[in-house]
Symmetry: C2
């Protein structure tokens, strides 16, 4: 029988999503397991393998699965390893030979790994906002800031599989905030969900400006988004500031690879109504004149979990 289906897996910090996908990109069935209740990779991989087997049975496509594609934080396409992923307890301090382990647990089915942002970029290229594009940069605005860079229709991996760490380029070189990576001024320290919440908290402390956010104890980026939707001026200014920094960094990314479009993706990208104009304006103000007004700014058209599953599944073809 022809092997005309693949499995796409999106490994996240809290949950991991699994989907059985056909050649047209339709997710036939999907399921979710927790990823945060294991501190050893063996336990997680074993649970994931069982969940994949169960989903294959449920889909009725046993014997027709060509392979497994996995997107995971710090996943390396070349080595098949997940190494030092701060948000994965079972891989936070170790180099985990993930593809090999999962393949063995699945009786030898081929497993292909990449990082979550690259998987999302592949999903967006095959089925989303970047459909048909050969050159674009996807920037994932989640807990952190990640990126998947597509050049001539292929994800850029670089010499070691780690290319595309745009969240850790320096956005603010002068008195920049400390980033989770230990350095100062990274884009991620400003334009992630954590960065947005931090900007709001800093501004509330520094000023007396009234804001509904003053009533909230531990402010999250979601709170800032909700406040902005209610018309809270400080919250809207937080998004303006975030967009301005992101747009200036994007201007530099454009000078590197001259993409046709920038695609924003992830939880924070849902705040499109507050981010689109500040990012686009800042990008065009800061970019070299030859690209001014020429590079598209797009927001993902796929549900987050779908993009990641579909992108990961695309690896397995």
């Amino acid at each position: 029988m022809e092997q005309q289906y693949v499995v796409g897996v999106d490994v996240g910090g809290q949950t991991s999503k699994i989907g059985i996908v056909d050649a047209r990109g339709v997710v036939l069935v999907q399921s979710v397991i927790r990823s945060d209740n294991h501190v050893e990779p063996e336990g997680f991989v074993s649970e994931l393998a069982e969940a994949i087997k169960a989903l294959i049975v449920k889909s009725g496509k046993e014997g027709q699965i060509r392979g497994i594609g996995v997107g995971a934080p710090n996943g390396n396409y070349y080595s098949g390893e997940i190494a030092f992923a701060p948000n994965l307890a079972w891989a936070a301090t170790a180099v985990v030979p993930f593809s090999k382990m999962l393949s063995e647990a699945l009786g030898g089915l081929k497993v292909t790994l990449t990082n979550d942002a690259n998987a999302a970029a592949m999903g967006e290229m095959a089925y989303g906002a970047a459909k048909g594009m050969k050159n674009f940069i996807m920037i994932t605005l989640g807990t952190g800031v990640g990126s998947g860079i597509v050049i001539n229709g292929e994800v850029l991996y670089g010499s070691d599989g780690f290319a595309g760490e745009l969240g850790h380029t320096i956005a603010i070189r002068h008195n920049g905030r400390q980033c989770g990576c230990g350095r100062f001024g990274c884009l991620e320290a400003y334009c992630s969900a954590i960065g947005v919440a931090r900007t709001a908290r800093e501004w509330l402390e520094m000023s007396d400006e009234p804001s509904v956010l003053r009533d909230i104890d531990k402010i999250t980026s979601k709170d800032v988004y909700e406040a902005a939707k209610e018309g809270d001026k400080l919250a809207i200014k937080v998004f303006n500031y975030t967009g301005k920094i992101l747009g200036a960094s994007i201007a530099d990314f454009i000078a590197f690879s001259a993409p046709e479009a920038i695609v924003l993706f992830g939880g924070l990208a849902r705040a499109k109504e507050f981010l689109y104009e500040p990012v686009l304006n800042s990008m065009n103000e800061n970019v070299l004149s030859l690209w001014r007004g020429k590079v598209k700014l797009l927001f993902s058209q796929l549900k987050e979990s779908d993009a990641a599953i579909l992108g990961a599944s695309a690896l397995a073809w």
Copy 2:
């Protein structure tokens, strides 16, 4: 008869160099013409075509030329055009269909164009410091700062042919110097020959520090280099500062494409003795830890004119 030779042309602001090159990268004969005595593209292209014909005759390889490869400032690989090149009087304010014009003047011989930094990167990859490498970034430190980015063994052109304008990424976002492009804080405003001279002049003005440079009227980067070789402390500090800024920018470039090496090229790269350590230290201090100490910093091994001619010639195969 087999067409086993190509012509490489390096178009510069003052002069243009022409070489007949064999398949092993040996420049059989070469010649030079001026490029700064024309204000119309027709005049320059016609003179260049005559010089190419004469050199082919001199080489004795008539009828054996496969094509012409040209590296030129602002040369576009996709369109064959040279557009708005500030250092070329005959193309400073116009879009010149260079490949088409030169090909017609040479009786239909195929002409392939790219920008000068890309041509140098191809030369370095085929015959120089980056021989055998598939992923590296060449940074040309000349009057300006250019770059040629190689990914999976191919020069990166992006969606429009203009990828790799790393001299116009922002090195200093806070009170940055104005760049020739009109924006502020570009890498080129600090790490070009002009930038080095400017740093020296600014520092001499701002301080009373003794320096042999005080005796020079219009300081150039060459003067700063000569002074540094004599042990002049201020001149050495100028190179330290330049290297520090360049290294910090390189750290961001690494996060984009994860190259195996950075190759420095061009007039200023001759000051290797004063730039190597500052650039390498700054690059490793600023880069994300996963790349610390792992990316090679190389200086071009080819004579400048050779790299450009050889790189341009490689286009013609």
